[in-house]
Subunit: 202 residues, 2 copies
């Protein structure tokens, strides 16, 4: 079973500024140069677990992320998936664009300012190779509107101390055909900067 120390390790590995620069320059033009920046919230939104803010953006427009999320890392009672990551949406998301690199701006965020996303929990296992691997919970319930079309999300990631890979795809709820997402493979990120997760405990 996982314990608080595993949760801290996962949060510590996630907290940072990631880039897939190496992948982008090795495979032009098939992988955009993407940055993922995950910042611990300076003020936790509840007593339970560890709270993070995540932004994904093209490297050339870091302040216009195409995806943002509030993540809550918690321990579970499930021996297969001892950690879960709950997923939330900031109601006024645009107001926080760029805040992953200006974390003081996140102080104003309150529990009432976010909505829980049902069906979008990531279930996380600890692997034998010293990494964490996560999968969106079963049920095809994490709905994503894309190009006006409703799809359900299939998402997985793996993270270790310095590397982070992620693969997202959207499927049609009726035909189960892939509607969007990478068919070429996962994004492969390396950690460029680490952020402490303990500053917010001070």
């Amino acid at each position: 079973m996982a314990n608080q120390s595993n949760l801290v390790t996962l949060a510590t590995w996630m907290a940072g500024d990631f880039s897939n620069w190496e992948q982008a320059i090795a495979n032009p033009p098939f992988f955009a140069h993407i940055r993922v920046c995950i910042r611990p919230l300076p003020v936790a939104l509840s007593d339970r677990g560890i709270w993070l803010y995540s932004e994904q953006a093209y490297d050339y427009e870091l302040n216009r992320p195409y995806r943002t999320a509030i993540l809550q890392l918690v321990l579970t009672d499930d021996s297969e998936f001892p950690i879960a990551i709950e997923n939330y949406k900031i109601k006024d998301g645009a107001a926080y664009h760029g805040a992953s690199r200006e974390p003081e701006r996140l102080r104003s965020l309150q529990r009432e300012g976010i909505d829980h996303l049902a069906g979008c929990k990531m279930l996380v296992q600890i692997t034998p190779r010293n990494s964490f691997k996560g999968f969106v919970e079963e049920g095809k319930g994490c709905m994503v509107i894309r190009d006006g079309k409703e799809t359900y999300l299939a998402s997985e990631f793996e993270i270790s101390e310095h590397e982070f890979s992620s693969l997202d795809r959207g499927y049609d709820p009726l035909t189960h055909e892939r509607v969007w997402g990478s068919i070429a493979g996962a994004f492969e990120f390396t950690k460029k900067t680490s952020f402490t997760i303990f500053a917010n405990l001070a």
Copy 2:
């Protein structure tokens, strides 16, 4: 059969600055924002056909194209593919990086400065929908080294007055498995700026 006028139309449609911006913002992060800039050579490298210089680059580093080519558009005797595009490599390619947007720099280019790429000719047909469609010639002979591995190129494009799509993939010569390239689909470009192909005839 095609005539000189078809050749001029194809060259005119190709000569310009293309972007897949609309595709990139509609599908983040699965399509990088790419620019293709094709410029008529100010001094033709032979009397035969129409000569162009092509650069493909990430929008955020236009002066570091990841692919450049010299293209020679010629008429053929083949009724199915009445136009061919011969492909050449500039020996000192880096010296011309950015020249698609500073075409005066192309004046120094001479026939001795380029190498013909065998097996990489594109065969072009005129479609009923007022476009040209090209395919790399048969024979699996257009070799591309990628990540230290030799592959043969499968490439196709379609171009009309304002739109240009292209799809490139590399295959293993022994197993015929796909080694690199888009599995997600073609790049879809629209023309942002047109260049005249007649300036060089002045």
